[in-house]
Amino acid sequence: MSDSRFTQVGIRPLPPPLAPAPRRRRPCLSAFLLGAILLGCLLCDLFIPKDPAYMDLANCSRPPSAAFLFGTDTMGRDIFSMIWSGGRVSLFIAFLATAISTAIAVIFGSLSALAPPWLDALLMRLTEILLSVPSLLLIVLLQAVLGQPNAVTIAIVIGVTSWTSIAKVVRTEVRQIRSSEFVIASRCMGGGFFHILWRHLAPNFLPSILFMVVMDLRSAIVAESTLSFMGIGLPLSVISWGSMLSLSEKALLANAWWIILIPGLFLIVTLLCITDLGNRFRKNANRKESNL
């Protein structure tokens, strides 16, 4: 062993640490499926074999066959064609309703969070009272105000009656961010209201409400189909997933399972995909490990 190893050399720079391997993103089946369904609904005019609204009275309640891929309903309409064009209506309603309720929720929630305590308390009481009014009552009355139901009025009805839960999340989030030190710091530096809103509030609270918004999309789809099924939604002549399913009770008598199962399965697969996507938006990236 030579003594040269024991000479003093002082500080030598370390080789830079290896960059962490880029995280591979898991391929996402639900995003793919949802994309396919969305695309299919948007472009349905290109490939559906029959006019979805045409009532082929000679072929009522036919089971699935080569001629009618998914069978026909009790009024002789082709279910395969109806699913795609009905999906367009259902999804349109869902997106519009979600947009409406999110807009109301964000405005109401941030207003409540930024307001002085007494106004905040008042607004929160208001939502609580609104919550304790049965939603059915609200929906029916709103329908009455808006007149003959169509896709837009249904979306408005759903949107206006489903914003409370997001509003509460928005309120808590905004409150939390508002009193955080980086916002105080920005205020001290002279950041105006819009600067703080744009640079600090929005980027920090959007990800946390994204999950809620996606879940709201899901409940809007369910709400549309339920309303139509109950007969207070879209009329039979406007094809949507809900109005298709409103024929189910007749189908039950005719024992025509495909009228119930096939549109329902489409509905559920869509909902599942949305739920899965929503769960991915949840921030659980650097979640601590369980202490238990």
Partner: protein, 327 residues
């Protein structure tokens, strides 16, 4: 003394909330367009002459300005006269009486089942976090939460009533067997399944996630360091920590579960209040609507107050005002 004062305070809060609720419902209902005469007189209303209409409106007290109508309704209500149903032409209470029991049976049982099962499932998932059991419960739960209630009802009818002929598909009891508990139970199975499956996962998942957050708290380490077992920590410490927010949420959702039975009641032709509420709202059956809304709203407010009182016992910080609103 403080207990009495406390109860009085809560009671006052309850009364005030009910009053506000009744004003809101009253105004919404009356301000909405629609012809209440139709529900009273049926088709005859459309053939009435203007004079006849005026007389009819006068008779039903629809002429006066809104506040007067409300004041009259309130004073009558306080004396125990809740008005008559326009559609059924009898006292509102009578209409409700026949169906209240059915709804309480269905909704109440459903509520209790959801309440208990969601806690159980949530704790189970948290105990076996990320193990096989947790994963499968989560998967099945997610799917169940995606199935719309009305569709599930249809499929269950299709399967158990139409195809297998095991269970009845409609009604609360077979005619002539009203007093037979076994028969009632058979009629309850399907609606109850739909109600429970439709709501269960939402609450169970919430319990699970809140518990998972809780077991990451520092105090769990101290509890473990002093020699407590997993069960003791999970039940005595963590569960206790999340119960307040769970109670608050489930109290708010009483109308979703109790009142939301209307879909199920409609599909299964179950004679309950849900279907009645739906009808009354649709056909401007004012007095009936008021009573039903106040009933369901009152249930919510009452449950919230109970939850609040229970929470203050569980977590003294709430009473001291150290923590903000839970929901």
């Amino acid at each position: 003394m403080s207990t009495v004062l406390y109860c009085l305070k809560k009671l006052a809060a309850f009364a005030v909330s009910l009053l506000v609720l009744s004003v809101v419902v009253f105004s919404i209902a009356r301000l909405a367009p629609g012809d209440p005469l139709v529900s009273y007189y049926g088709d005859r209303a459309e053939k009435m002459s203007p004079a006849e209409r005026a007389w009819a409106e006068e008779r039903l007290g629809l002429h006066d300005p809104l506040p007067v109508q409300y004041a009259r309704w309130l004073s009558n209500a306080l004396r125990g006269d809740l008005g008559i149903s326009y559609k059924y032409k009898t006292d509102v209470l009578e209409v409700i009486q026949g169906r209240l029991g059915n709804t309480l049976l269905l909704g109440g049982l459903g509520f209790l089942l959801i309440f208990g099962l969601s806690l159980l499932l949530g704790v189970l998932c948290a105990w076996f976090e990320d193990r096989l059991l947790d994963r499968w419960i989560c998967r099945i739960g997610t799917v169940s939460s995606c199935v719309p209630e009305f569709w599930l009802s249809l499929v269950l009818i299709l399967l158990f009533s139409v195809t297998l002929r095991l269970l009845p598909s409609s009604g609360a009891y077979t005619i002539g067997h009203a007093g037979d508990p076994a028969d009632r139970l058979r009629h309850l199975v399907l609606p109850l399944t739909v109600i429970v499956l439709g709501h269960l996962w939402y609450y169970a998942y919430m319990v699970r996630n809140k518990l998972l957050e809780e077991v990451r708290a520092d105090y769990v380490l101290l509890a473990k360091a002093k020699g407590l077992g997993k069960g003791a920590i999970l039940f005595r410490h963590c569960l206790r920590g999340i119960l307040p927010s769970y109670f608050s949420i489930i109290a708010i959702s009483v109308p979703h579960i109790l009142g939301g039975t209307y879909i199920v009641e409609t599909v299964f032709s179950y004679p309950g209040l849900g279907a009645l509420a739906y009808e009354s709202a649709r056909y401007q059956d004012y007095d009936l609507l008021m009573v039903l809304s106040i009933l369901s709203g009152g249930a919510v407010i009452l449950c919230s107050l109970i939850a609040q009182a229970v929470n203050e016992r569980i977590d003294p910080r709430i009473r001291a005002g150290e923590v903000g609103p839970l929901v």
